[in-house]
Point group: C2
Chain length 326, copies 2
């Protein structure tokens, strides 16, 4: 089982790599794992792992990493929403053109590999309050990032229809709780308001407590990618796009869990800092999802937000929550 | 009013050119009209018209034709469905990449031009018998051509959302009656069964008489493009895609009109030649359309199929129907 992860040195790519090295795919261990990215990540100290460093939008690099023996490609490399909005050409180049390069390289492999592509609920536009989003709901992106993901989805579906690859698109809910630093994404606060206080730092909250979010933990996101890698696609037909099951929570509910896990001092570290721009974007995201199909295919959401925070503390804080500052 | 038509030497491009030269757009005459294509068409003998010959997927050519003074671009250049299916790379190159080149050249113009882009109902997949298709119905292409048109639609919407162009997508029903020769399109018979008999030639009909079609005449298609060129887009918001109003007819109804216009001898020139492959494709096309929005925006369909055939006789046969062969 030879596996390529593009964006392999990123936060989800590294977690996926660890899972693949430990558990493999459907019981089959990874024999070779290539992590393609713009820079190397941590040393795995495992002879199966190698980094391939280059530009994912460079055809020569892509042809070099999609070797003939690759069985599975996890195509995670992307420019995030804020960056795609700020640098239009870069977004097109990485989120569309590089995706096509990867698909095309796979097409010219003798055994057309499984391709697992991570897309986003940003492909959707504002919907009526009573509308439920399913896998077949019309996309209507309102951001360059969303448009680029929707374009790459169309390519992957068509390359699969023609038998050039055996592809699956996973549309990720907002990932929370992300480790690391705040980023430019409008959803950055959805991790920040938990991550920062549990580490003893303050965190501004740009939206009202009543704001609803649709969340998936990093742990479940990685599980979903592994599930997708061995899914029987004959049952999918042309319906290659799957909205992953998230959980629907409000910011107030998230903060209540924060208080439970970190105590009132942690909760007090989150301060209201209304940002109408962020509020507008977040309010436009769909809240009601039908994920029966995803669940039927074996994808799991999180039990509740407490489970998400507990997993974060375990995976990213070594089980330690910051003590009260006195 | 400086106008560029890509695919300008094609059948619809030439008709559009004539209309623009005679009537202009919203009462404003075309002062300069560039017809870009791979080869020249007929001589217009009009100092306003020039041909630009080149490859629409060549960035240098596109940058050369989208000059700074262009006010309107009609982007009609495309690889048709049969060809896009047979030559995947060519379809991607012309139907997606060239569209992006055109949009990008417009983006770098000081006055971002109006772009009218012709798409197709091939962006849709099979739908339930009782489902009505509207402008916001989810695309689900089942052909490379349909995927490519859907991708170009996403690009045009995004370039418009960002203010880089002021774009409109017109999704054309099956155009009937097309002049010229049969082509590789599955819908070729929808013109052939009228055009050939009215010229005294036999025409095979690959589908049962009960087969339903959704048609638009070339005359109305050209009118729609001109309407789109001066449409007030502020009313459209992000909803830049319009399914043009067609008429729903069966093949039997078309053949009855043929008999009315051309006589029983013309009708007798159409012979049943069942082609399960064509039948399957045509049967998968949606038949029920909601075009209230298009009509509200000023787009007109044909009155009925008789009106379409009368227009064909007038426009393409100089008013003459082939006499009975004796």
């Amino acid at each position: 089982m030879n596996i390529l992860i593009t964006g392999g040195a990123g936060f989800l790519g590294l977690r996926l790599a660890k899972t693949l090295l430990n558990d493999g795919v459907d019981g089959v261990a990874a024999s070779r794992l290539v992590l393609a990215d713009r820079a190397t990540g941590p040393d795995f100290d495992d002879p199966r792992v190698s980094y391939a460093i280059g530009d994912i939008a460079d055809p020569a690099f892509v042809n070099r990493i999609v070797t003939d023996d690759i069985d599975i490609v996890f195509h995670l490399a992307a420019v995030v929403s804020g960056q795609a909005e700020a640098d239009f050409d870069l977004g097109l180049r990485v989120n569309i053109d590089a995706s096509r390069l990867v698909l095309n390289a796979c097409r010219h492999n003798a055994d057309h590999p499984r391709v697992v592509f991570t897309s986003s609920v940003a492909v959707f536009g504002p919907v009526a309050a009573d509308e439920t989003i399913g896998d077949a709901t019309a996309v209507d992106p309102r951001s360059s990032y969303g448009m680029e993901k929707a374009s790459a989805e169309l390519l992957l579906k068509e390359y699969s229809r023609r038998g050039f690859v055996d592809g699956i698109v996973l549309r990720l809910p907002t990932i929370s709780v992300r480790p690391g630093r705040p980023n430019q994404a409008a959803s950055s606060f959805a991790s920040g308001i938990i991550r920062e206080p549990l580490s003893g730092s303050g965190s501004p909250c740009p939206v009202p407590g009543s704001t609803g979010l649709w969340l998936l933990s990093p742990r479940r996101a990685v599980e979903a990618m592994v599930t997708a890698a061995s899914l029987d696609t004959s049952a999918l037909g042309t319906a290659r796009v799957i909205n992953l099951p998230g959980i629907s929570v409000t910011v107030d509910e998230m903060l209540a869990v924060l208080a439970d896990v970190g105590g009132p001092h942690a909760r007090a570290l989150v301060t209201a800092a209304p940002d109408p721009a962020v509020e507008k974007i977040v309010a436009s995201w769909p809240r009601s999802w039908d994920h029966d199909r995803a669940v039927g295919l074996g994808f799991c959401g999180d039990a509740n937000f407490r489970a998400i925070v507990d997993a974060f503390v375990e995976d990213d804080l070594d089980g330690q929550v910051a003590a009260v500052a006195v």
